[in-house]
Symmetry: D2
Subunit: 376 residues, 4 copies
C-alpha cells in the first residue's frame, strides 16, 4: 500500500475493505512521505520493519525483488491526489497491478497517458469509484440492462456535501483538496463530481456525451459547487449537481432514473433500498440481501436482508472483484463478460472522469455552452 498513514481517513477505509473478506492480506507499505510516520503506521499494522518503506519508490523496488510467493499481488494507492499518477506509473513499470484511489490523475491528458501505460503493461488497473460496489447499485444497473425501465429518458444524479464551510482551515488534513497542484484541476467536480458521473454511467449504461455547466466558487479556492445539464446517449437528458457548500449534508450521493416503463431511485445514505416506481401499480422497495435480486447484487452480498451493509462492504466489493480478476489472470482463466470479477471501475472510467471534469470547467467558462466530453 502506498499512502494511508495513521490518522488519515481513506487509507484506513481501504485497509478495512481489503481485509474484510479474508482474501487479501496487507504485506508491505510506504504509508507516508514522512518516513517516521510510515514506519509507525507499519508497526501498528503488525508489518515487519523490513516491509515498511520511507518512499513508494523504495517500496516498489524492494518488493519487486522478493520471491513471487512473498511479493504483493497488487499495489493499492491511497495517497493525496497528485501522487496517484506517479505511484501508479512506477508500480506498472515494475510489473505490479494497481488499484488506485481516485482521481487517477490531475487532468485529462495525464489520464490518457496513464491509459497508454496500462495498455502497454498488460497489467490490471482498478479505480475505487467505490459507490458502484453497493449491492443495490448493481441491482439498479441489472434492472436497467434487463429492460425493466424501457428506454431511459432522464437521469438526475446528485452528490451534495456540506463539510467545506465548516471544517477548512490552514493546517488541516483536508486542505490539499482545495489546492490546485495537489488535487488537480477541478475541486468539487473532480473530488466528488466524478463519483456522480461514474455512478450515472454505470447505472444507466449510457455515456454522457455533452453537458452545460455552471461551476461556482463560494469559499475562494477551487470550484465548490457544480450544476450541470446532461445529454446522454440515446437522447436521454439529465441533471448532475454536486457541492461542498451544502451545509448540513453528509455524503448524500443519490441517483434517480426514469425510462419509458418505470423509474428508480437510490440513496447512498440508505444504501440497502432501491425504489422502483411504476406508472400503474405500487412502487416497489427492493432490499439488499433478498432472494429476488439479480445475480450481481446477490453475488456481492455480505449479509441477509435487514442486516444492513455499509460503505466498507461496498468498498470491499471493489477490492474482492479486482482481486478475483487478478487471480483469474494468474490462473490463466478467461472470464465471461458478465463475471462479477470484471465488475470494478477501470482505466477507461478514469479517463472518462477526467474528460467530464474538463468539460464541466470549459462549459462553465463559456457561458454554459453545450460542450462535448473529450473522447474517452
Amino acid at each position: 500500500m502506498i499512502g494511508g498513514g495513521v490518522g488519515g481517513f481513506i487509507g484506513a477505509i481501504h485497509r478495512m475493505a481489503a481485509a474484510m473478506d479474508l482474501q487479501i492480506e496487507l504485506v508491505s507499505g510506504a504509508f507516508s512521505s514522512d518516513a517516521e510516520r510510515s514506519r509507525e503506521t507499519g508497526s501498528q499494522l503488525f508489518l515487519p520493519p523490513s516491509r515498511t518503506y520511507p518512499t513508494f519508490e523504495e517500496m516498489i523496488r524492494g518488493e519487486s525483488t522478493l520471491p513471487s510467493e512473498q511479493r504483493p499481488d497488487f499495489i493499492a494507492i491511497v495517497t493525496p491526489n497528485h501522487l496517484h499518477l506517479p505511484a501508479a506509473q512506477f508500480s506498472l513499470q515494475h510489473g505490479f497491478h494497481v488499484l488506485s484511489d481516485k482521481p487517477a490523475t490531475l487532468n485529462f491528458n495525464d489520464a490518457k497517458a496513464l491509459r497508454e501505460s496500462v495498455k502497454k503493461s498488460g497489467l490490471l488497473y482498478g479505480l475505487t469509484h467505490n459507490y458502484t460496489g453497493y449491492p443495490m447499485v448493481k441491482e439498479a444497473r441489472h434492472l436497467i440492462r434487463s429492460g425493466k425501465l424501457g428506454r431511459i429518458r432522464k437521469v438526475v444524479v446528485e452528490y451534495p456535501q456540506g463539510w467545506l464551510p465548516i471544517r477548512l482551515a490552514a493546517g488541516q488534513k483536508q486542505i490539499w483538496r482545495t489546492d490546485l497542484k495537489l488535487s488537480g484541476v477541478g475541486g468539487c467536480v473532480a473530488d466528488i463530481g466524478t463519483h456522480a458521473e461514474n455512478l450515472a454511467e454505470y447505472v444507466t449504461g449510457l455515456k454522457i456525451h455533452e453537458l452545460a455547466a455552471d461551476a461556482s466558487n463560494f469559499m475562494g479556492r477551487l470550484d465548490d459547487d457544480i450544476n450541470v445539464l446532461l445529454h446522454l446517449e440515446n437522447n436521454a437528458k439529465g441533471v448532475l449537481h454536486t457541492s461542498q457548500i451544502c451545509v448540513g449534508e453528509e455524503n448524500n450521493l443519490n441517483i434517480r432514473v426514469w425510462g419509458e416503463l418505470g423509474g428508480l431511485e437510490w440513496h447512498q445514505t440508505e444504501p440497502n433500498t432501491l425504489l422502483l416506481k411504476w406508472p400503474d401499480r405500487p412502487a416497489e422497495r427492493y432490499r439488499a440481501g433478498t432472494r429476488y435480486l439479480g445475480p450481481a447484487a446477490r453475488s456481492c452480498a455480505h449479509t441477509p436482508a435487514g442486516h444492513p451493509e455499509g460503505f466498507i462492504e461496498a468498498f470491499a466489493n471493489i477490492y474482492i472483484n479486482f482481486a478475483n480478476h487478478i487471480r483469474a489472470v494468474q490462473d490463466g482463466r478467461n472470464l465471461a463478460e458478465d463475471d462479477p470479477a470484471l465488475d470494478y471501475p477501470k482505466i477507461d472510467d478514469a479517463v472518462r472522469g477526467m474528460a467530464f471534469v474538463e468539460a464541466v470547467l470549459e462549459s462553465s467558462a463559456a457561458n454554459a455552452k453545450w460542450t462535448r466530453l473529450g473522447i474517452g
Copy 2:
C-alpha cells in the same frame, strides 16, 4: 365561479378549499362552456337556477346588477388556461376582485397587460400557486427571512410528474394541457415549472434573474421535460427541473435550500415536515401544528401536530388569505406588511411566472445560453 364543471379536477378542489373554513360561500357560477353542463353543475351544488349561467359574460353581467349584499365578493376562475385572461379582464372591468387558477395568461406580454388592468382597476388579483399555502412552506420562508440559514447560496427545486406517458390520448380531459392554443406557450414549464419557480422565490425571498435551460419534448407535443440552471439574486445558484415524463412520480414538488449557516428541505408528498440541517448539530424535523413554529405557519394551521394537513388545506389557505384581504379592503382597514391576509400570490407573481416560461424556452433554443428574465 367561472369554470369547474362537474367531473373536472381543479374546480372541485377550488370549491372544497373555499368551503373548508366556513368563511366563503359559493353563490353563482358559469361552470362550463356547455350550458347544460353548467346548469347541471349548479344544480348539484344547490345553487338556484337563477345564479347558474351559460357563459361567464352573462354571469358577470348578471351578478353585477345584484344588490351588493347578494353580489359575490370575488370571482374564482378555474377554466382551461386560455380563458383565464378574458375571464379575469371581464371580471375586473365589472368591478370584481379576481382569484384565478394559474397560469394567469398564455404568455408574458399578456401577463404584463393584465397587470396593467389590475393596477388600473384598484381591485385585488390572486393566483393559486397553491403550494405556498402549506404551513411548512410558510415556515421555511419565515426561517430564511429571519436569518436562520444565513445568506442563501444554493437552491434545488424539483417538480417531476409521471402522468404524461400513460394517461394521454385524444379525447381525454387533460388533452388541452398539451395544446399550444389552449394552454399557452410552454407545456410542462408553464403547467408545473412555474409552481417550482414560484415556490423557490417565495421560500428564499430571492428572485431568479437569469437561467440556462434545456427543454425537451419526448411525447411529441409541447415541452414535457425541463432542466434549468439558475442564477438568483445575491449570487445564489440553483437548479430547477420539472417533467411530465418521470414515470412513477406523483406530484413530487420539493425544494432544498442551503445557506451559510444551514440547509432546509421540504417535500409536497410529505408536506407537514420541514427538515432543517446544521453543520455541527443534528438535523431538526419541524412539524406542522406545533407550538414552536413562526407566526405564518401557526396562523394557517387547521389541525394540531400529527393530524396531517393536506393539499386542500394548503389551497384553502390561499383562499382564506385572499378573502381576508378583500374584507380589509371592504372595511377600509390598512394591513401591516406581514399580515397573513397579504400572504397569497398576486399579479406580480403571475408576470414573473410568464417571464420565467419565456426565458426557459429562449435559453433552450439558444444552446443553453444564460438568459435574463423579462422584467417582472
Copy 3:
C-alpha cells in the same frame, strides 16, 4: 351542532369536515353551556340568532318544530364526553339522526342502553372514529377482506401521544379529559385507546375477544399509559399500546398486520401510504389517489396521487358517508352491503369500544389476567 364553541379544537374540525364536500350545511347550534359563548359562536359562523341556542335541549325542541325543509337532517354532538349520551338520547327522542364524537358514553352499561335507544328509534347513529375515514385505511381493510394477506396471524396497533406531560395545568381546556366524571372510566384508554381498538377491528375484520392489560398512571389522575396483549378471532394474536406520556409523540396512531401470505403497515402521520410486505418479492408502497386501489379507497378520494389528503379529509369521509346514508333512508333506497354510505362507525362500534375500555381496566386490576370483552 351541539358543542363546539369557538376556541375549541374538535368542534372546528367537525365543521370543516362537514363543509368540505359542499353537501352538508350547518343550520343551527347550541355551541356551549355558556349561552353568551354559544351566541358568539353562531354569529361567527353566520348563523341567524334564531338558530343559535343556549342549551341543547332548547335547540332540539326548537328545531324540531321547524318545517321539515328547514329542520336539520341530523345532529352533530361535539361536547365534552359526559354530555355525549344525554345529547344523543335527547336528539333521538325528538326524531333526529345523531353523529356523535366519541366516546359515545362514559361506560359500557350506558353504551348498551344507548344501543337500545338507537334500535328503538329506527334512526341512524354515527360515531366519529374518524381514522377509519382515511383512504388507505379503507384500502388496508379491502386488501385483507379480499384475502391478499391470507389468514391473519398478528396485529400490532399503537397510539402514542405525548401531550400530557407538558400541557396540563388546572384551568386548561383539556383538563376535563383527565377528570373521571367528565370523561368517563378510562383516561387514555377511552380517549385514544378506543381509536386503536376500532382501527384494528375495522382493518382486520376480526374482533378482539380477550385481552391482558397493564394500565399505568404516571401523571396522577386517570390511566395515561396502556399496554395490552390481544387475542382476536380466528386465533390471531396482537399487541395494542397507547399512551399520553410518550413525550415527543404527536398523534402517532399506526397499525401493522401480518397474515400467512403478507403483511401491511399504515401510519396516521403519513396517511397516504400503505406498505404491503411480501415474503419473496419487494414490498409495495400503495399510495392514495392512484388508480390501482380498490373501490372503497377510490370512492372517497378528494385529490389525485401525490396531492396529500389529511385529517380533515378523513373526517369528512365519515360525514359524507353518514349523510349519504341519511339520504338513502330519506329516499327509501336500500343500500347494498358494501355501499360506501354504510362505511362509518355505528352504535355497535360504540358498544365494543366501551367493552374494550372496561376489559382493559379489569384485566389490569387483576394481575394482567386474560379477560373477555363484554358481549358487544
Copy 4:
C-alpha cells in the same frame, strides 16, 4: 474458532467482523463436526492444515500446547446453540478467554453454571449480542445515562422477522433453530427475543424485573411469536414483541424509549440514525459519524457521517472491544469503568437472557401472570 464451516451464515459474519479492524487474526479452527468440512473450511481460509482440527476438543488441546506467541488469545464459538456451553466450558478449562455466539446455554440453570465457571477461571467471557455494537445504540445509551430524557417511563422494543413461514423445510440449515434439543428452551424468544431484551436493558440501563407474556406457536414446533408486557426498574413500563411469523419483515429490531423529558427511537434497518423527540421543539436526527456524538459512539465509528456503517461493523465493535479488554488483562492494565474496552456483553448478560426466556415461557403458561425474572 469453533464452528463456522463454509456455507454457514454466522461463522462468516464473525470472521469478517474480527478481520475488519486488522487487529484480530484467525489462527486455527474446528469449523465443523464433519472433519472433512472443517478441513476444507480451514483451507479456504488459508490456514495451515496443522491448525485445522476435526473436533473442538482436539483443537483446544492442540492449541493449548503451542508456545504462547502462537497460541490464540481467545476462542470464538459459532456452533449451533447446543454446543455453545460445552465448547465454552472446555475452552475455559484450558485457559482460553471465550467469545461465544448467543445463547450462551440452552437454559437458565446452565447459564448460572457457566457463570460460575467463568468466575472461577478468572478469564473473560463475551457474548455476541451484536446489536449493541452499533454506534447509535451506544449513543442512545449515552444520552439516557447522561439524563437527557429524564427518568425513563416507557420502553417499546420489537424484533419481528418473517423468515419462518417461507424458508423452513426438513433438511434446511436453519432447522436446528426449531428443535428443542439443539436450540434450547424457547424458539423465537431465545433466538431473537433475547436480543430485544438485551437491547432494552443496555439502552435504558434498567433491568426488567417482571413480565406478562403470551407465547404462540403458529408453525408447529417451538414458540414463534412472543408478546410481552414489561415492568422494569424505577417503575418503567414496557412492551416487547418478537416473532418469526411476521411475513415480509426482515430483521426489524427496533427500540423506542420515552422519559420525562424526551423520547428516542432507533431501527436496526436504518442503524445510522437515532431520532430524539422533544415535547416543545423539533425532533432531532442524530447521525453516526458526526462530531456531536458522545464518546462511546465516536470511539467506535469506522466511517464519517453519511458513509453508512452496517451490521458487520457493529459486530466488529463487539470483537474489538473484547480484544482490547484481553490486551489490557495481558498487559496488566486496569481499565476505567467507562473504558470502551469494557463495553461488550458478558456472562451476566447471558444469565439474564436465559432468565428472560424462562420467565416468558412460565408467564405464558400461567395465563399471562406477572412473573419475576430469576435472579440474574
